[in-house]
């Protein structure tokens, strides 16, 4: 039996049997008219070259399921199907389907069709060679139109989507949809529980999909808000996907305004900062299994962030950012309330996604308080259930006077070096680190510490200050060495002084002739995370704290 004949017989059998296959509770009205058909030995066969089959179905409360994840319930559906032949070997078909009620589950997606009423009209022909859709029109939550879709019979029979896509051809396809509604249906509702950030985005705009030859072109214009605040204004995405062509296509992405501060924790980025791309368009290169975007140069008003290219290779499951750079970011102007003059820069960095982790090669350097801070081994886990990031940080020749003067901690002078090794941040909170700070003995600067700083160091370490009798009447003391190590792991800080003498551990050690000692009196130096937070609150709240005189 020819394939065309098989399909035809299937269609007819389906039409005749369908009304009797419903589940309990389903109401169905069925009317059908067939002309020029007879039952032959090989099955149902038309009697003449010209024949017609016209069927109307009206289903009420239709339910069914393939498995727990794929089901429909309470579906009201009207179908009008017409199949016929006008000449030998060529059969035509036409179908109209409309729905106005029901629920559809295609996990993780759920659709309430009462809110998504719509209809489909399609017509075409079929023969031994294949199935041809001359016209397809969908009107509903999205509007879709296709013309001249040709599916070779061998590809249809294979049942494989990839083979079908490779061998099909289409003259014209277009789809348009309200982006906000589509986002809610396809992303926000199904993925908000597992990815809460998805629910904070609200796009408003339109999305269109069209085919031109063998290229599927997605165009999107949108304004995007995050947690109710504007995030991107005037976003334009032109994304040509060569689904049937081997050649890569050129696309672009651009926007009018980007409000990066609304995406960051409140108050972190100064409200006056507006981020603009230096070039209006960011070029895209779209291939069948890879995407390249860039170069991208963002002007932050007080410095630039640039990326030479972002490469996504689906065949190798690889994501890389090449030529990352930070150009003279003036942190005191970018971050609200940041009390220091600090300039940050980085050149020719590279980042690659390894598992869940985006690993950066290269260093970020910052100039602060006459010294430098260098961050290396930087990484970020942006897709983990809880966003993590970390680095190793080394600081050199920091002027303590410049660091402490703008704060309420109390003034300490001197030059310090140190590091934060294995810093792991979880959201905005530290999870793990090893910190060490010690003064540079070789630096030719006065080494003084104010009474307030002594008191606050005592609070922080749970220790005590030891000031000589005469010194107690002063507001400032000299010291010979500052040395502090602190680690955080498992919500426990372990704080130690680096100077140890006669079984006493000093955070600050006075000189031979006089000055101040700050002694770590906490055995083991263990401080719980919550206690440390309380101590920091005490430091910022109280100007005076009690101190034992020795």
């Amino acid at each position: 039996m020819f394939a065309g004949q098989a399909i035809l017989t299937f269609f007819v059998a389906w039409l005749l049997l369908l009304p009797f296959l419903w589940f309990p509770g389903t109401e169905a009205a069925y009317a059908s008219h067939a002309s020029n058909w007879h039952l032959a030995e090989s099955g149902l066969e038309p009697k003449e070259v010209k024949w017609d089959l016209d069927s109307n179905f009206n289903f009420q409360d239709l339910s069914g399921s393939r498995d727990a994840d794929h089901a429909f319930e309470g579906l009201n559906l009207k179908i009008h199907l017409r199949i016929g032949a006008r000449e030998k070997g060529k059969k035509t078909w036409k179908i109209d389907v409309s729905w106005d009620k029901g629920q559809l589950l295609f996990y993780p997606w759920f659709f309430d069709l009462s809110d998504l009423k719509g209809m489909v009209n399609a017509r075409g022909s079929f023969s031994q060679k294949g199935l041809y859709v001359s016209n397809f029109h969908l009107q509903g939550p999205v509007s879709m139109e296709a013309k001249g879709l040709s599916l070779p019979m061998k590809s249809v029979q294979s049942g494989e989507m990839e083979t079908l896509l490779k061998n099909c051809s289409i003259n014209r396809f277009s789809m348009s949809a309200d982006l906000g509604k589509l986002y809610d249906l396809l992303l926000k509702e199904p993925f908000s529980d597992s990815h809460p950030a998805v629910s904070r985005f609200e796009p408003a705009g339109t999305l269109t999909l069209t085919t031109l030859g063998k290229v599927l072109r997605l165009k999107c214009t949108s304004d995007l808000t995050y947690s109710g605040q504007p995030f991107v204004k005037g976003l334009l995405l032109d994304f040509p996907y060569p689904f049937l062509a081997p050649d890569c296509q050129k696309g672009r992405i651009s926007w009018d305004e980007l409000f990066l501060n609304n995406l960051l924790p409140p108050g972190l980025l100064d409200e006056s900062v507006h981020v603009k791309p230096k070039d209006k368009d960011i070029p895209l290169k779209v291939c069948t299994k890879s995407l390249t975007a860039g170069p991208l140069d963002l002007d932050l008003q007080y410095g630039d962030i640039c990326v030479n290219e972002v490469c996504l290779d689906l065949s190798k499951k690889k994501l890389a950012l090449n030529g990352l750079c930070l150009k003279d970011l003036q942190i005191q102007k970018l971050v609200s309330g940041f009390p220091y003059e600090m300039r940050v820069s980085a050149q020719a960095m590279h980042a690659e996604l390894k598992g869940q982790r985006l690993v950066f090669s290269g260093r970020i350097k910052a100039e602060l308080a006459g010294g430098t801070i260098t961050a290396s081994n930087i990484w970020l886990e942006p897709f983990a259930p809880v966003v993590h990031y970390g680095a190793d940080i080394v600081f050199e020749n920091l002027d303590l006077g410049k660091l402490t003067k703008p704060t309420s901690f109390g003034v300490v002078t001197g030059v310090v070096n140190g590091y934060i090794k294995g810093l792991v941040m979880s959201g905005v909170q530290p999870e793990r680190f090893e910190f060490l700070l010690e003064n540079d003995d070789s630096a030719d600067v006065p080494k003084k510490i104010s009474l307030k700083a002594v008191e606050n160091l005592s609070i922080l370490g749970g220790g005590e200050g030891s000031i000589s009798f005469l010194g107690y009447f002063l507001k400032e003391f000299s010291y010979s060495r500052i040395g502090i190590s602190c680690s955080l792991n498992n919500d426990i800080f372990v704080l130690h002084g680096l100077v140890k003498k006669n079984g006493v551990e000093y955070l600050v050690k006075r000189g031979f002739l006089g000055g101040v000692n700050v002694i770590n009196m906490n055995p083991g130096g263990r401080i719980r995370f919550k206690d440390m937070v309380k101590r920091l609150e005490r430091i910022s709240e109280s100007d005076k704290s009690k101190m034992e005189i020795r």
Binding site: A68, D69, A71, F72, E73, Q103, L104, L105, Y107, P108, W109, F110, D112, P190, D193, S194, P196, A384, P385, V386, H388, M425, S426, G427, Q429, P430, E431, R432, N489, N490, D491, I492, F529
Partner: protein, 191 residues
């Protein structure tokens, strides 16, 4: 005499090898259990059942070293860090939505520390979708939690299933009446 020496050497070798293996399988069960108890209680806002006679599969020391760890456990048991706090917060917020499904027996507490959909009878498609999303989100957070706890206690990734089993017991203890609990793989009972 020579044979005796050979036997002694073999015994000694076997002892040494077993001793090495014992060290390798060291697992801080007491710390994990304490963490599980703290976390489950914190999320579900109730004290664990003190009278419970349920014996843990990991309750007996697996090595001599573990006796040391129990002594250590007396000093410091709480496992916490920024990741665990954030995961706990999310799970705490989700629990009121999950509780009715647990009580009705739609969702059960599995022996591997993950939720299992037991029955969807009487649920509409929307509720089925909501329930599955809820369970998947909870299980994703639970797996992240087990990894974070294991990392905190320096437990290798290959031992995470043991962390899961210990947590399963705590989830089962603190689950509301009516919840299906899987006492051992495949053995489900209703609380």
């Amino acid at each position: 005499m020579k044979i005796l020496n050979l036997k002694s050497t073999i015994v000694l070798l076997v002892f040494l090898i077993t001793a090495c293996v014992t060290v390798n399988i060291y697992f801080p069960a007491a710390e994990v259990r304490q963490a599980a108890e703290d976390i489950a209680t914190d999320i579900r806002g109730q004290q664990p059942d003190q009278n419970s006679n349920e014996k843990s599969m990991d309750s007996s020391p697996t090595s001599w070293l573990q006796l040391g760890s129990l002594a250590y456990a007396g000093r410091e048991l709480t496992v916490s860090n920024a990741t665990i706090r954030q995961l706990k917060d999310r799970m705490k917020k989700r629990y009121p939505a999950l509780m009715p499904y647990l009580k009705k027996g739609n969702v059960g507490e599995g022996a591997n520390g993950l939720l299992v959909i037991k029955s969807q009878a009487g649920l509409g498609l929307k509720q089925k979708a909501d329930l599955k999303r809820l369970v998947n989100a909870e299980n994703s957070d639970r797996m992240a939690l087990y990894k974070a706890v294991a990392q905190s206690l320096n437990i290798p990734g290959s031992q995470i299933s043991r962390v899961q089993k210990i947590f399963a017991q705590e989830w089962q203890k603190t689950a509301p009446r009516g919840t299906f609990v899987e006492r051992s793989p495949g053995n489900w009972v209703r609380k």
